[in-house]
Symmetry: C2
Subunit: 87 residues, 2 copies
């Protein structure tokens, strides 16, 4: 890792990835977060694996081209966390 892991995220060793589970109060909030994440993916070109149910979203960020997560993924993680904040 070239930068420190953002708060709330976990560095997973195998396969190398960054992981965070986001919890929401409603399905509506969950869907809104997924929409914002899709916009962030479109802007950055980074497409994490996403798992979701009615009130949670699991985000797994792998590195690019088989590499471990780097500065781009750390930046994505920070921005994803900001997108999950209410308001």
């Amino acid at each position: 890792m070239t930068a420190s892991v953002p708060e709330g995220w976990r560095e997973v060793p195998t396969p190398p990835s960054l992981f965070r589970r986001f919890q929401f109060d409603s399905y509506r909030d969950t869907r809104a977060f997924l929409e914002r994440l899709a916009g962030l993916s479109q802007e950055t070109g980074l497409y994490p694996d996403l798992g979701f149910g009615t009130t949670h979203v699991n985000v797994t960020l792998y590195g690019q081209a088989g590499q471990a997560p780097g500065a781009d993924e750390v930046d994505f993680a920070s921005r994803a966390s900001a997108l999950a904040m209410p308001g």
Copy 2:
């Protein structure tokens, strides 16, 4: 199970659920399918666990109230398969 498992779906014993992985040619197709699934959830009141990347969607349907999947889930599965078809 009160009805037979729709083609392409797998009955998972633990925890009791119906599972299918859908593969798509593009992120756009993947997103379109997720949108249609959201509509189906709104209509039926059934919210499967969904996992997705750029070109796949994994759907896991649990039963309601801790039960094994039943007729409602089988119906949802059939309709989800139809929604994944191109055109």
